[in-house]
């Protein structure tokens, strides 16, 4: 299981990437993260909620009220143009980070 600390810088990628095609709400995003991570990582609710509020505060996502599939009122989030820019920048940063770290990891394995 990947620690929250190790994932800290990339939480925004995990959230924003899910909003590229359509808006979503917290539980659905958390569930997708767990499913895609396949048990390797699960995002706590407080982590997800505080990240969404932070992204909203920075103008990277916008919140609006809607209904979930179960018919319950939920807060949905949609990505803004600045959010898309941030996602692109963060993704590029991740690629670079991965390449640099890989060069060191390959050396020891």
């Amino acid at each position: 299981m990947i620690s929250t600390e190790a994932m800290r810088g990339y939480i925004d990628i995990l959230i924003l990437s899910q909003l590229v095609d359509a808006p979503s709400y917290a539980y659905a995003m958390g569930k997708t993260i767990s499913e895609v991570a396949g048990g390797g990582y699960a995002m706590k609710q407080t982590t997800l909620y505080s990240a969404l509020k932070r992204l909203e505060g920075a103008g990277h996502v916008e919140a609006f009220a809607s209904q979930s599939e179960s018919g319950k009122p939920r807060t949905y989030y949609q990505i803004t143009p600045s959010g898309r820019e941030m996602l692109a920048a963060k993704s590029a940063e991740w690629q670079q980070t991965k390449e640099v770290v890989d060069r060191f990891v390959e050396g020891i394995s």
């Binding site: 569930k31 609710q45 407080t46 909620y49």
Partner: protein, 349 residues
């Protein structure tokens, strides 16, 4: 969902009521409700679903940043924790509850067997007061003891087996951990989920325990005008039925009480109690000769009883050994406890 609401109330207790906290609480509640419903849809029990929602909650300190609380962490909640003891994790608490539920019959049968074990001995001893019976009193008592001892051994075996299964949870059972609010709320959820069946079982058990007096009393009344040896036959049966009813009451109640015991353990008061119990029974505080004496006392008494009864044919009087041995054991234990605990405490200072 009451459990989740109580949990959130506890988590938000130290934050002032502002539009931001109200929003955060309601958003987190919605997320927990979704996790709960998702777990139920996936076939989990209500118990497990609440456990999962609480386990996935996370850390309030993260939310504190969003709430704009300059002090950061929720100080009041954190202050309750005993930081010197490791926290009991939600996974440990859930496993502890699961193992307690699985082993509930071991405890119930052990206690019921302890109650039933003396029934043959007592009933046979009473019944054989009739000299015309083909079975002598000595033989009857021997049969009774031959049944009693293996039953006690089985009861002890069941308790040892149960303790072994609970061994991985020493942090909880010996009160060595500290209980976080989420674990405590989980314990309360387990108790609430099973409280109806516990109440029902308690009512059945109490009714049985009250009615248990009837066989013995009614046999006494019924045999009032009979000659003593004949009356004893009926009294023996009455005594046996009484013990069986008490045992059935225990079998009804004890298996239904596991959730309550789990909830009691998963609280800071329960932890403190467990620490006291453990230190009371901590035999390591005593020197070897005391431990040997404690372990050998009752087997020695049984040997003395049997030897005295058989050789002296003293079945009518040898029973006096038991009350005397019981009182003596209590007195000796109290003295040893006072001497060695006192010494231990002084050394600890």
């Amino acid at each position: 969902m009451d459990i989740i609401d109580n949990y959130l109330d506890t988590m938000f207790a130290s934050y002032p009521l502002t539009p931001r906290t109200v929003e955060a609480k309601s958003e987190l509640r919605a997320m927990m409700e979704d996790i709960y419903n998702g777990a139920i849809a996936a076939g989990q029990s209500r118990n497990e679903a609440v456990g999962q929602a609480l386990a996935e909650f996370g850390n309030m300190e993260e939310v504190a940043a969003v709430l704009g609380d300059p002090s950061g962490a929720p100080i009041e909640i954190a202050a309750q924790f005993d930081r010197n003891r490791p926290a009991v994790s939600m996974a440990q608490a859930r496993n502890f509850a699961a193992v307690s539920e699985k082993t509930r019959w071991l405890l119930a049968w052990a206690v019921a067997i302890f109650v039933l074990a003396p029934a043959p001995l007592v009933s046979l001893s009473i019944a054989t007061s009739d000299p015309n019976l083909p079975v002598s009193k000595a033989l009857a008592s021997t049969i009774g003891i031959v049944i009693l001892l293996p039953l006690v051994a089985i009861g002890v075996g069941l308790l040892v087996w149960r303790n072994q299964k609970l061994e991985p949870f020493n942090l909880i059972t010996q009160g060595q951990g500290h209980i976080t609010p989420e674990v405590e709320v989980f314990g309360a959820a387990v108790r609430r989920e099973h409280s109806n069946s516990r109440t029902m079982a308690l009512i059945i058990a109490i009714v049985l325990w009250i009615l248990a007096g009837i066989p013995l009393i009614s046999m006494g009344v019924f045999t009032q005008d009979m000659p003593q040896p004949e009356a004893d036959q009926y009294l023996a049966v009455g005594m046996a039925i009484t013990l069986v009813m008490v045992a059935i009451g225990l079998l009804a109640f004890l298996p239904a009480n596991w959730a309550n015991s789990v909830a009691n353990r998963l609280s800071e008061e329960g932890m403190a109690e467990a620490r006291e119990d453990t230190s009371d029974w901590e035999m390591g505080a005593y020197p070897t000769w005391v431990r040997a004496f404690m372990a050998g006392y009752w087997p020695i008494m049984v040997t003395i009883y049997l030897t005295w009864s058989f050789i002296g044919d003293a079945w009518g009087t040898s029973w006096i050994l038991w009350p005397i041995a019981g009182v003596a054991f209590a007195a000796i234990s109290a003295i040893l406890y006072a001497v060695y605990r006192n010494r231990d405490t002084q050394q600890g200072r």
